[in-house]
Structures are given as structure tokens and as C-alpha cells.
């Protein structure tokens, strides 16, 4: 069984992909950063020396030291531990928002590219409307709409932030998928499937979608980073995760007034966001090169 698997073209392809990836140091660096964050998110409780939300009023606003690697905040909470716990929130926001927007966007794009005509026209104009608003402004509007008139949230504030960002990221997937579908639709193997009497559903999901995946994967990887920035942005202005949640954006928000003297409270979460986004962008760039059929042989 295993012998047979090794001969499978899929594995040969994978090996070749690894080879291509190995040639780009930057994407390897990106992958390393991502793996480091994954490690942090999985083994949080082992890495973090303190509980993230335990208040220790005896040790408020300590500068970075061996005891508190990134210092402590105004309630004496260990910034390092909070930042490590923040990794989990970053992955939660990123993965959830990307999977929602990816699923909805891909479906819409597939539908509109494959059906064409009125379906296409209506869907794409809707997407244009979404794109006509600045990204963050629209997200803010959506979160506000999810708030109760007397204040407070219908949903969990973190979730409403994620939902808002998911909605505003849909158009980019929809447009991307529509474009690829339009070109794959014209290939002869799709026509052959039609000549065999395959149903539209089968053609769309068996023939067209698997051949349009490459750009979607790249886009999803790249946007994991940007989604986290936007989510952090929302919590920074108080519309996403709320304090005392150790979410990076919220950490920066609460640390921003302390910045001139107690710089460590906001700086370290900021650096984490930077690294997180950079990791996914570098890796995404590498993926694009690997999946580009022109570079393959």
C-alpha cells in the first residue's frame, strides 16, 4: 500500500513543490514564522509563565526583565503571557474569517462564472457595491449594526468582529474565483464532460473547481495575515474583542496611553502582529510561485 502511494504522482508533485519552495529562502522564513506561531498557539499553557488574566497589583508596570520577559501592564499582568495567549485569538480570527469568506466567496464566484448571464451580473454588481466602501469602514458599519441600540452586543463582540471582516473579504474571493472559472470553463475537458452528459453541478464541482484552486489557496494564505490586522484594528477601536481578552489589538488599545513611558505594553503585541502578517505574506508569495503553472516545468 505504502509502496504504491510513493509512486503516486501526487507525491511526486509534492516533492517537486518542496524542491521549488526550498529554492526561495524568504518563503522558508515565512513558513518558519508560521510554524513558530502554530507551536505557540498549541502549547500556550506550557510556554506562558503566568496566567494571562491574573492581576498582581504588587508588580504593576514592571519593565522587561528575566522574570517578566516583556514586562507587566498596569494591573501587573505578564505581557509575555498575554501575547502568547493572543496567538490563539489571532488564529481563531484568521482561520474563522478566512474560511467563512472563502466558502461564501468561492461559491458565489463559481456560480457567477459558471452560470453567467443575469446571475453573474447581479452577483458581481453586489460585490462591486461591497468593494465601493473602504474595507475597514464597512467592517465598522457591520459591527455597529450588530450592536444593541442601548449598547452592548447581540453576538459575542469577538465573533461580530470576525463576521464583519468575513463579509468584507467575500468580494475578493468571488472575483478571483469567477476569473479562473471563466478560463477553466472554456477548456476542452469541460466540453468533453458536457458531451458526456454530465450535469452542471458535476461539471462545476468535479471539473472546474479543482482546477481553480491554486489562486484561491494563495489568496487565502495571504489574507490570513491581513484579516488579523483588520481584526486587531477593530478591537483597537473597541469594536472587536474586549478587554481583558488578551487579543493583540485589544492589548495595543489598552497600552497606547502608556506608550511614552511604559513602551513595552503596546510595542510587543505590535511586533507580534507584524511578524504574524509577514510570515503569511512571505509564505503566500512562495506558494504563488510554486503553484504558478508557468514555473512548473
Amino acid at each position: 500500500m505504502f509502496e504504491e502511494m510513493r509512486k503516486e504522482p501526487f507525491f511526486k508533485e509534492m516533492r517537486y513543490s518542496m524542491h521549488l519552495l526550498g529554492q526561495s529562502y524568504l518563503s522558508i522564513a515565512g513558513l518558519a514564522i508560521i510554524l513558530l506561531f502554530v507551536f505557540m498557539a498549541v502549547f500556550t499553557s506550557f510556554i506562558a509563565p503566568y496566567e494571562p488574566n491574573v492581576i498582581d497589583l504588587a508588580n504593576t508596570l514592571q519593565p522587561p526583565s528575566l522574570e517578566h520577559l516583556m514586562g507587566t501592564d498596569e494591573y501587573g499582568r505578564d505581557v509575555f503571557s498575554r501575547v502568547i495567549y493572543g496567538t490563539r485569538y489571532a488564529f481563531l480570527e484568521g482561520l474563522l474569517a478566512v474560511s467563512i469568506s472563502l466558502t461564501v466567496g468561492t461559491t458565489l464566484g463559481l456560480l457567477s462564472g459558471y452560470r453567467g448571464g443575469m446571475t453573474d451580473e447581479v452577483t458581481m454588481r453586489l460585490m462591486d457595491i461591497l468593494l465601493a466602501f473602504p474595507y475597514l469602514v464597512l467592517a465598522i458599519c457591520i459591527v455597529s449594526a450588530l450592536m444593541k441600540p442601548e449598547g452592548g452586543f447581540f453576538l459575542d463582540p469577538l465573533m461580530s468582529g470576525i463576521l464583519a471582516i468575513s463579509i468584507v473579504s467575500i468580494p475578493s474571493y468571488a472575483r478571483l474565483v469567477r476569473g479562473t472559472v471563466l478560463s477553466v470553463k472554456e477548456t476542452e475537458f469541460v466540453e468533453a464532460a458536457r458531451a458526456n452528459g454530465a450535469s452542471s453541478l458535476r461539471i462545476a464541482f468535479v471539473h472546474i473547481l479543482p482546477n481553480s484552486l491554486a489562486p484561491i489557496i494563495v489568496e487565502a494564505t495571504m489574507s490570513l495575515g491581513t484579516v488579523v490586522i483588520s481584526a486587531a484594528g477593530l478591537s483597537f477601536i473597541g469594536l472587536g474583542a474586549q478587554p481583558p481578552t488578551p487579543e493583540w489589538g485589544a492589548l495595543i488599545a489598552s497600552g497606547r496611553f502608556l506608550l511614552p513611558t511604559y513602551w513595552w505594553c503596546a510595542t510587543f503585541p505590535g511586533i507580534m502582529i507584524l511578524l504574524f502578517v509577514m510570515g503569511f505574506n512571505l509564505f503566500g508569495d512562495g506558494l504563488r510561485d510554486i503553484l504558478d503553472p508557468r514555473l512548473r516545468r
Binding site: A192, V206, N211
Partner: protein, 325 residues
């Protein structure tokens, strides 16, 4: 039920006055400003077990005709009769039923196989769509691969591991999977090298002898058409200009276009000095085809009438559309 001229019981498919116009859109509101007259009234009939050749240069509408005949493109006029049944307007389940009986092999063996499917899935797809599953499907796929000169080992591989010739064999295997009665061959060898082209042509002839399908061989290569077909039609700008038995057309071409086309083919014999009829100019645009006979601006024998009135395809077995005859 259907009135058919000359359609006998041994006719597998018949097209009568088939038309396909593609709209040309332009202007601010993408209005239809004009039409490409891709297929403009083409009639042919193909017998069971016969190969009918359709030759012409690029843009003459031969590929569109093949697709329209199979209902992959909706016709804008005319009728298609398949195996005694009018299929011009059928839909849904009836159409799917008919699809099983007519198949197509495309020009480019690289883009006509889904790169993410294994050979078993590709060749088995038409079977799967007809409700054949599991062990039956597997056995049938092995049989089909053997028929086209490949073997069982190839089943779990992907298309990119095969050469152009092998891929074309796979396309043929897929096309014959449901035992069709009629296959459109759309330039099946023009992407292949000559040594491989011969293999594929021999395979096609062999399969026809064994399974008795009718072929519509669409090609720009006159020598290939001569080799494989019993009857030939020559197309120019959406219309058939000459039609008849292969031997007669090639030995004694009547239409000036057929004559020029035949004389233009380079022959691998350095001693052969032929009287080449060099046509001037290019093929005109099918959006605004010339008045009268569509070939008149390039014809060496042009007369007054050619510019004004369109000649009809005259004759029964051997027909030609030219005012000279």
C-alpha cells in the same frame, strides 16, 4: 414522422441547412451590432460506419459545425436528424440520452483531459454518468484501455505522465466508452507528430472496422482527410463549396477553391513540379461575407454573375457550388 430527402435507414446523422450565427457585441450597452456567419446553411448526411471528411481553412466554420451537430452549441436554424430522430430541439433527459450515442475527440490532447483526475476517472466518467459503477466500471475501463493500445497499469496515473499520442488514445477511449454510433473527430491529429499521427489514424480506422461507428473527420490537413474518409466536403466561409466521393474530389476537383487548396499542399517529392494555383489575399471576415459567391474576390475565374448571385450546391452525389458548372 419526419420528411427526409435521401435519408435512408443507413444514415446515422443528417444535417439540413444548419445555421449558426454568433452575435458581435459593441457600443456602450453591448448591443448586438453584427453577426459572425460561422455556419451558414450546411447540409450533410453521414452513413453508418462511414467516415465523412470536412476540410477547410481556419475560420471557415468547420469546428463550429461539428459542435453544433452535436448540440454542444445551439443551432440558429436548420435541422439535425440523428438515427431517424429529430434532435434539433430536444432537451434535458432526451438530450443526455442522445449524448451517450454521439461523442467528440478534440484537437488538443493536453487540454482535453482534466489534469486532476486519474485515467480511470477520466475514461470511466461517461460510464459513471450512465450508472455503471464499481467492478463493472473497472473492467470496462481496462477493456477500453486495451482497445486503444494502453494497459491496466496506466489506470491510476495522471494525464501529465503521458505523451501527446497516448493522451489522444485516452481521449478516444473516453469517446468510445458508451458505444456511440457517431463520433466527431475535430482535428484529432493536428497537434501530433507525423509518426504518432499515423498510429492514431490507424487506430481510428481499426476501431471503426470493429465497432462500426460513423465519423465526421474535421481537418485542415487534406492528406489526412484523403486517407481516412470515404466522402469529403470542402468548406469556405461557412458554406460547403464542394462535396462528393473522396477519390473524385481529389482526382478531379471542380470548384476553383478546391483546386487551389489541393495544389497548395506541399508534397514530399523534390522532383514534382506542379502548376500551383496561388490564391491572392486572405480569407475575408465572416462578419461581412462578400456578396454573391463568397469566394469571388480570390477566384481566378471570377465572372460578373459570381459577384451578384450566390451559386447553389448543385448535383446529387457529387455537388459543387460554382457558376462555372
Amino acid at each position: 414522422m419526419i420528411e427526409m430527402e435521401r435519408a435512408t435507414t443507413d444514415t446515422i446523422i443528417l444535417a439540413k441547412d444548419l445555421k449558426k450565427y454568433f452575435p458581435v457585441r459593441g457600443g456602450v450597452f453591448s448591443r448586438v451590432v453584427d453577426y459572425v456567419h460561422a455556419v451558414d446553411g450546411v447540409s450533410i448526411d453521414i452513413k453508418k460506419g462511414e467516415t465523412f471528411g470536412l476540410v477547410g481553412e481556419s475560420g471557415c466554420g468547420k469546428t463550429t459545425f461539428g459542435r453544433t451537430l452535436m448540440r454542444l452549441i445551439e443551432p440558429d436554424g436548420g435541422r439535425i436528424v440523428f438515427n431517424g430522430e429529430d434532435i434539433t430541439k430536444i432537451k434535458g433527459k432526451d438530450l443526455a440520452e442522445i449524448r451517450r450515442e454521439m461523442q467528440i475527440v478534440f484537437q488538443d490532447p493536453f487540454s482535453s483531459l482534466n489534469p486532476r483526475m486519474t485515467i480511470k476517472k477520466i475514461v470511466g466518467e461517461p460510464l459513471l454518468l450512465n450508472g455503471i459503477k464499481g467492478k463493472d466500471l473497472r473492467e470496462r475501463v481496462i477493456d477500453l484501455l486495451a482497445l486503444v493500445g494502453l494497459n491496466e497499469e496506466h489506470m491510476n496515473r495522471y494525464p501529465h505522465e503521458f505523451s501527446g499520442g497516448q493522451r489522444q488514445r485516452l481521449c478516444i477511449a473516453r469517446a468510445i466508452a458508451t458505444n456511440p454510433k457517431f463520433i466527431v473527430l475535430d482535428e484529432p491529429t493536428s497537434a501530433l507528430d507525423v509518426s504518432v499521427q499515423a498510429q492514431i489514424l490507424n487506430l481510428l480506422i481499426d476501431l471503426q472496422n470493429r465497432l462500426g461507428m460513423g465519423y465526421l473527420m474535421i481537418s485542415h490537413d487534406l492528406s489526412v482527410v484523403r486517407h481516412i474518409s470515404q466522402r469529403v466536403a470542402v468548406m469556405y466561409l461557412g458554406k460547403i463549396v464542394e462535396k462528393g466521393k473522396t477519390e473524385e474530389i481529389f482526382e478531379n476537383p471542380l470548384h476553383p477553391y478546391t483546386k487551389a487548396l489541393l495544389s497548395a499542399v506541399p508534397v514530399p517529392d523534390p522532383d514534382r513540379k506542379r502548376n500551383r494555383i496561388l490564391l491572392t489575399g486572405d480569407v475575408p471576415s465572416p462578419v461581412n461575407p462578400p456578396s454573391g459567391c463568397r469566394f469571388h474576390p480570390r477566384c481566378p475565374y471570377v465572372k460578373e454573375i459570381c459577384k451578384e448571385k450566390e451559386p447553389e450546391l448543385k448535383g446529387d452525389e457529387r455537388s459543387v457550388a460554382c457558376w462555372l458548372y
